[in-house]
């Protein structure tokens, strides 16, 4: 086996990417060595079990993936606006729309939201860490190695090219030989395990580690959305695990689940994929709803309108999300009865979602709105998301779906819900909780520039696509030289570059704010408008989070704490705090399993078995590991708190 056998060759764009990746790699290596930061990297980050640091690593990875997925998107838009330019060939185009979709859903949206949950949920419920900090680190590294595995595919072995849904029989061994689809299967499998573990971890954390007195219906709405999301994760991700495993076994070991030989049933893949895939949609949208609810309540300076209804509508959405999967493949050819059942269940979901929209509007009604950057993202979400939601109901009508299916109408629809919902929420949440993470706010002026560029870019990009779809432009099309489509495609591409510009301003703002933003002195960063416990801690948050955990018996407890002059540091009540020890085991264990997955991708069984054995040895080590953590002494807590609070 020679290196050139597995490297992707012959594509100038990919050569460019290889060179730039190599340069960035060398630069990072050089910088870490020059500033002697390798030890720091290992001690502070790679071995950490602190939920806040893990959350930051999730968000950094997600931003990196947003960049990667965004570049894919730009390349597609260039190709579609100027079809005669020959910018991409058809194979490369197929690979790019596949990686764009997969990365944006699995490696951007989910880790971004999980990162925010990691940082904020324990702070909102008054916990010192996750229920299982070791498992949390394991989850992150499984996601990280899954992501790395998926991303190296475009330089080594070739990217998957069967769409992010990876429908069989196209993605089966007969029609897609080679490692491409295996990268998809193993990358998702590895990171999916981590997601499932996070779901369990967060559920136990929320159910067992709330502040004294805090009942479930006292929890902040973002925590509620996390709990409901985790419920969906726990019940939906095993389906993906099985589906991926079955297709892997089909491809590598020659079974006949989804093949055209041996009486296999290719549509069974679509069935299983969407049984996971539809709940997955709600996994990425419910936390977004939670974030918007927090932001809107904070900057409307009111208690969230209809808190109980908000919670129940989320629960109803979660239950319904398992009953609608067939609407993703109405055109499979099932009879009218099957399609009608799922058409009706699909439209039912619009009801609780509509309830939530009206609750946000009612929260805003007659309030003194403060137009900060997170609030702008949240306000922009409401009308934009409604456009996506209404077109979703159109798609949900089975008969009409035969017209809309696989057209740009669908593309516009799901970008309207996923960008206006999830991506806006990620930005809103990141800006909103940024001071909690890094001790300083993001610059408001640059933030507004980023927002307006992204917001207008988004609508300019995707609104025309509804009409392209109605004009009959199918998705995943590589040549678009139909005269009627040309103007709208050019407009759409302009919009896409507007979003790209917005993203660049956002990233520049990260740097600019790091250099020039004022450092936070209080924990309650947004002009004292904080309502929930995360604002009650100091900024930056000490590693043990709360010196003393307050008693909570209402929604928005921090409002009353401020009125009564209470803090999370009651000196007389400070006791030693039990904290978990850092450990490098999760990183090493997942590195081994990542190696095993890499071996399976190329069907190098010795590598796979070696990696698997390494993983098992690490698990056995873990079983014999009785490290019980350590106690933070009272003196140290008092010193830290006094310094942070300027006492």
């Amino acid at each position: 086996m020679h290196i050139t056998d597995i490297l992707v060759t012959g594509e100038p764009i990919i050569y460019g990417a290889m060179v730039s990746m190599a340069l960035v790699g060398i630069a990072l290596f050089f910088l870490l060595t020059y500033f002697k930061k390798w030890g720091w990297l290992w001690r502070e980050w790679l071995t950490t079990v602190d939920h806040k640091k893990i959350g930051v690593m999730y968000i950094l990875s997600a931003l990196l993936m947003l960049f990667r997925g965004g570049v894919d998107a730009m390349m597609m838009r260039v190709q579609l606006a100027f079809p005669d330019l020959g910018f991409l060939n058809s194979q490369h185009y197929n690979e790019i729309f596949t990686t764009h979709g997969t990365i944006m859903i699995i490696f951007m949206a989910m880790p971004f939201l999980i990162g925010l949950m990691n940082i904020i949920v324990p702070l909102q419920i008054g916990a010192r860490d996750f229920a299982f900090p070791y498992l949390n680190a394991l989850s992150f590294w499984s996601f990280f190695f899954g992501m790395a595995l998926f991303n190296i595919s475009f330089v080594i072995g070739g990217s998957p090219d069967a769409g992010w849904t990876s429908y069989t029989p196209l993605s089966g061994a007969a029609m897609s030989p080679g490692p491409g689809q295996n990268f998809y299967l193993m990358g998702l499998q590895l990171s999916g395990i981590g997601t499932l573990a996070t779901g369990i971890n967060l559920m136990v954390t929320i159910l067992k580690m709330r502040a004294p007195g805090m009942k479930l219906f006292h929890m902040p709405i973002f925590t509620w959305s996390t709990l409901v999301t985790c419920f969906i994760i726990v019940f939906a991700f095993p389906i993906l695990t099985v589906a991926l495993a079955l297709l892997t076994i089909d491809r590598i070991f020659g079974s006949q689940f989804f093949t055209l030989t041996g009486e296999g049933l290719p549509m069974m893949w679509a069935n299983l994929f969407w049984m996971w895939g539809h709940p997955e949609v709600y996994i990425v949208i419910l936390p977004a709803f939670g974030i918007f609810s927090e932001v809107i309540a904070t900057f409307a300076k009111k208690r969230l309108f209809g808190y109980n209804v908000m919670v129940w509508s989320m629960i109803v959405i979660a239950l319904l999300s398992f009953l609608v999967w067939v609407h993703h493949f109405f055109t499979m050819g099932a009879g009218a009865f099957v399609n009608s059942v799922f058409s009706i269940s699909t439209m039912l979901i619009a009801v609780p979602t509509g309830v939530k929209i009206f609750n946000w509007l009612a929260t805003l009604y007659k309030s003194k709105i403060e137009f900060t950057v997170p609030m702008l993202w949240s306000l922009a979400f409401i009308p934009s998301f409604i456009l996506g939601g209404v077109t979703g109901v159109m798609l949900g009508m089975a008969a009409a779906d035969y017209q809309f299916h696989n057209s740009y109408f669908l593309i516009a629809h799901f970008h309207y819900v996923l960008i206006a919902g999830t991506v806006f929420a990620c930005f809103a949440g990141l800006v909103f909780w940024y001071p909690k993470m890094f001790g300083h706010k993001m610059n408001e002026r640059l933030g507004k520039w980023a927002f307006w560029l992204f917001f207008f870019g988004f609508h300019v990009c995707f609104f025309p696509q509804y009409f392209l779809g109605l004009d009959g432009m199918p998705r995943r099309l590589f040549i678009t030289n139909v005269v009627e489509w040309l103007p709208l495609n050019v407009i759409s591409t302009v919009g896409a570059f507007g979003m790209g510009l917005g993203f660049i301003v956002f990233v520049y703002n990260v740097y600019y704010s790091f250099r020039y933003s004022e450092r936070e002195t209080t924990g309650d960063s947004w002009n004292g408008n904080g309502r929930t416990l995360e604002w009650a801690t100091t900024t930056p948050v000490p590693y043990y989070n709360f010196a003393t955990v307050p008693y909570v018996d209402e929604i928005d407890p921090y409002v009353r704490m401020k009125e009564e002059g209470k803090t999370t540091f009651e000196e007389s009540k400070v006791k030693p705090i039990h904290m978990p020890s850092y450990t490098g085991q999760p990183f090493i264990m997942m590195a081994f399993l990542g190696l095993a997955s890499f071996g399976l991708v190329f069907e190098w069984m010795y590598v796979a078995v070696f990696g698997l054995l390494g993983g098992v040895v690490m698990m056995i080590r873990r079983s014999f590991d009785y490290d019980d953590g350590y106690y933070v002494p009272v003196e140290e807590i008092k010193r830290t708190e006094k310094k942070a609070r300027g006492l």
Binding site: L207, K208, F231, V234, F235, I239, E263, L265, M267, M268, N271, L272, M275, F322, L323, W325, V326, M332, G333, A334, G335, A336, F337, V338, N339, V341
Partner: protein
């Protein structure tokens, strides 16, 4: 630490005997009896659910109050099994494509029951 518990846990013994009896009844129904196929399938599926109940409630302490975990174990099992029903029945329903199968077997029995669907598939 030594609890003053009795030496032989009667509920375990009862659970064990029950599951043995139910297994034998199910095996007899399937192999030895002349009952109609549909009734056999419904009967042995009910027996399987009952056996699962024996395991959960008599062996696994699913509702043990001292656990401090409240309704969570019960809740997860309930929703897990509900979803199992949705996944199995829903897959059979969807992948049947909603069309009646064209073979004339089964004695004109048109129940939408999942086991019936399985039976239809065997006729392909």
């Amino acid at each position: 630490m030594a609890n003053s518990k009795k030496r032989v846990p009667m509920n375990h013994v009862i659970g064990f005997v029950l599951s043995l009896v139910m297994t034998l009844v199910a095996a007899w129904a399937a192999i030895g009896s002349d009952l109609p196929v549909t009734w056999i399938i419904i009967g042995i599926m009910i027996l399987a659910l009952l056996q699962a109940g024996v395991q959960l409630f008599m062996f696994m302490h699913v509702t043990e109050a001292e656990s401090g975990n409240g309704h969570v174990p019960w809740n997860m099992m309930f929703h897990g099994f509900a979803l199992a029903g949705i996944i199995v029945a829903g897959s059979l329903f969807t992948m049947s494509f909603g069309f009646d199968h064209d073979h004339g077997g089964g004695g004109g029995d048109h129940q939408q029951h999942e086991e019936q669907e399985q039976q239809d598939h065997s006729g392909h």
